[in-house]
């Protein structure tokens, strides 16, 4: 029997915050309160981003593999789930049931793709895997783009049934809670430890009896499943699904959320996803007309500055002096009892974008050409 008082509330603070948020706004909506349409749309967008970031963080932050094709899984989910809802509409109406069925089927379809893309992940590492995932995303995009207008709508896009906008965001937030629960529970278990162990040292993980194949596939599958769910949600939130949306640019946007949130930090991913989506949407409304182009510029500049600030070796001393992330940690994490399972936060460098196998500029140089003495002699 689990003792009630042994539950550490601060480990579940993320549920509490999101749950309360959902509850408050849900009650208002269900009691007949009406929100501004743009606000509803923002809520849905944030929920979608958070689900995407959470699911990607499982692969990038915890498994330590770089994936640039997350939007591809989302695309599969959006099309398959959306199409199912279209087919079901005459049968069971555009109610909750068709949404739920769409979510399940869309998620499963994406999960199958996750297994497929997980297979090269067993053989490839680092940049090579990154380009394969990127290629996967582009393939999916291109395949759906060229479908006929009767099947998936082709370049015009697939129209999805209109779900009552006023309640959709409640669903979206409930799905965020579900994603969070599944991924966090997975990570905070022996299975999650196995996944982090593979990230930290694959060879040692194998020697410890961990079935690396199984866990890599599992991580990719779970991650893809939730990306698919986010896709279905997107298809309902947006009314139409157009495959052009799911290019590698979108995958990179999700990756940026995970990276800025701190690799292997669940709460960090959530906050970064919500914040970036919020800022992007707000900037888009503030900067209109001629100023609209400034949005991308600002985003780019901020991104570069944040990454350099956080990572430049030369700024290390400065960072230690003004340590924002420690402040963050203090707010989010629990210093009192570190024994309880929490997220294994990783440093940035756990994801090898550089492969262990050393690449070399090769033009068949003979060994003597590389004779160090000759180089040195020439210098004098």
């Amino acid at each position: 029997m689990i003792k009630f008082k042994s539950i550490k509330w601060n480990h579940y603070i993320n549920y509490v915050v999101i749950g309360l948020f959902t509850l408050i706004f849900g009650i208002i909506a269900l009691c007949g309160g009406r929100f501004d349409n743009s606000m509803l749309f923002l809520f849905e967008k944030i929920a979608i981003s958070v689900i995407l970031a959470l699911s990607l963080s499982l692969v990038v932050g915890f498994l330590g593999e770089l994936s640039l094709g997350h939007a591809g899984f989302m695309c599969v989910g959006a099309y398959i789930g959306g199409k199912l809802a279209v087919l079901l509409e005459p049968v069971i109406g555009d109610g909750v049931l068709s949404l739920i069925l769409g979510l399940i089927v869309g998620g499963l379809a994406a999960a199958i793709c996750g297994v497929i893309i997980g297979i090269p992940a067993l053989r490839l590492r680092g940049d090579y895997l990154a380009i394969v995932t990127l290629a996967f995303g582009e393939i999916v995009k291109s395949l759906f783009q060229n479908t006929s207008s009767e099947s998936f709508g082709g370049a015009l896009g697939l129209e999805t049934p209109r779900f009552n906008k006023n309640y959709l965001f409640i669903f979206a937030f409930l799905l965020v809670l579900l994603t969070l629960a599944v991924i966090q529970n997975f990570i905070r278990s022996r299975h999650g430890r196995a996944v982090t162990a593979i990230r930290d040292n694959e060879i040692a993980a194998r020697a410890c009896g961990i079935n690396v194949t199984k866990y890599k596939l599992l991580a990719f599958t779970i991650s893809a499943f939730f990306a698919g769910i986010a896709g279905v949600l997107y298809s309902f939130s947006n009314y139409t699904v157009q495959s052009a949306k799911f290019g590698y640019n979108y995958s990179i946007e999700i990756l940026v959320m995970v990276v800025l949130g701190g690799m292997g930090s669940i709460n960090g991913s959530i906050i970064a996803a919500a914040l970036i989506t919020f800022l992007n949407t707000k900037l888009a409304t503030v900067l209109t007309g001629d100023l609209a182009v400034l949005q991308n510029l600002l985003y780019a500049v901020i991104l570069i500055i944040i990454v350099i600030y956080n990572n430049a070796p030369a700024l290390k001393r400065f960072r230690e002096k003004y340590n924002f992330s420690a402040l963050f940690d203090r707010l989010l994490k629990h210093r009192k009892d570190p024994e309880h399972p929490t997220d294994d936060r990783a440093k940035w460098d756990v994801v090898p974008t550089k492969i262990e196998m050393n690449e070399v500029l090769s033009v068949d140089v003979k060994a003597q050409n590389l004779d160090p003495n000759r180089e040195k002699g020439g210098k004098r």
Binding site: N296, A300, V301, L303, V307, V351, E359, V365, P372
Partner: protein, 290 residues
């Protein structure tokens, strides 16, 4: 027969462009060990510089300007965005490169607007070649790429600087101990890569005389794919991968049934090749020591 020959020539010419860009990826990867995601956008910058300097009326001068501008830009980007992160995690550098890519695209959009601009560098027309009608521009592209590649290979193989580049790519630390200026080599690499990208920009304008701020995005990704197919870090590999991809693309476009799926086919080839040869055609593999 004629169709096959002309497709092949077009394919080789497109492949030459891809190879040109892929060389930039592969050299930067081999030496700085980073994926320069902004590389594709240098092509776009090169195109715009040609567009602007065509006002002078002299195409050769415009090309020269484009190359010089892109070289300076490449070196500046390296200095401002990548150099502070030397020694930091590769992922941080990757994200910065993505940021730089966004930055270049949005700057171009601010300066030139998002509508595409028309620019004609030079009217080449068509010519009879081996019994088929081909675009002269395709032949010119092919010719220049061949010359550039030979020059580059000789440069890396035979000059002191080129050999120093190989040394840095083999082992940065050891190269430094041997008195090679590693930072300088990295800057030179970026300069060469950017010059090649500027030329690629020119070739794109010869192919289709319109330019927009996303001109470099897809060619960048394709060339990256080509570099990986050939084995990233390998110079002949980049050439091989680029030409393979270009030929495949042109053939696929010619066959009506699969033409819309060209992108998908190219990326599928990448996945299949990597599954068979995890380090590409000519990539070197070093086993991690247990």
């Amino acid at each position: 027969m004629e169709v096959i020959l002309s497709t092949l020539i077009n394919g080789l010419s497109l492949g030459g462009i891809y190879a040109m860009i892929a060389l930039g990826y592969t050299m930067v990867y081999g030496i700085a060990k980073m994926l320069n995601f902004a590389h594709g956008d240098i092509i776009m910058v090169g195109g715009y510089v040609i567009y602007v300097s065509m006002a002078l009326g002299n195409p050769l001068l415009a090309i020269l300007f484009a190359v010089v501008f892109c070289v300076l830009l490449g070196m500046t980007i390296e200095k401002i965005a990548y150099k502070p992160l030397r020694g930091a995690s590769p992922l941080a550098v990757l994200i910065t490169a993505i940021g730089v890519s966004y930055l270049l695209q949005s700057l171009a959009q601010i300066i030139f607007g998002s509508a595409s601009k028309m620019v004609t560098v030079y009217e080449f027309g068509m010519v009879q070649f081996l019994g088929v009608n081909v675009q002269v521009s395709a032949l010119v592209t092919l010719g220049i790429t061949v010359v550039v590649m030979i020059a580059l290979t000789l440069f890396v193989k035979c000059t002191r600087l080129g050999r120093a580049m190989i040394a840095v790519s083999e082992d940065k630390g050891a190269a430094q101990l041997m008195g090679i200026n590693v930072n300088g080599i990295i800057t030179v690499t970026f300069a060469i890569g950017s010059a090649l990208a500027a030329l690629a920009g020119l070739f794109y304008l010869l192919k289709a005389p319109s330019i927009s701020n996303t001109l470099g995005a897809m060619p960048g990704i394709k060339a990256f794919t080509a570099a990986v197919i050939g084995g990233i870090g390998s110079i002949p590999g980049a050439m091989l991968g680029g030409i393979l991809l270009g030929v495949v693309e042109c053939i696929s476009y010619k066959i009506t049934a699969i033409a819309p799926y060209t992108d998908a086919i190219e990326f599928s080839i990448l996945i299949i090749i990597l599954l068979v040869r995890p380090t590409g055609f000519l990539g070197k593999k070093r086993r991690e020591k247990v």
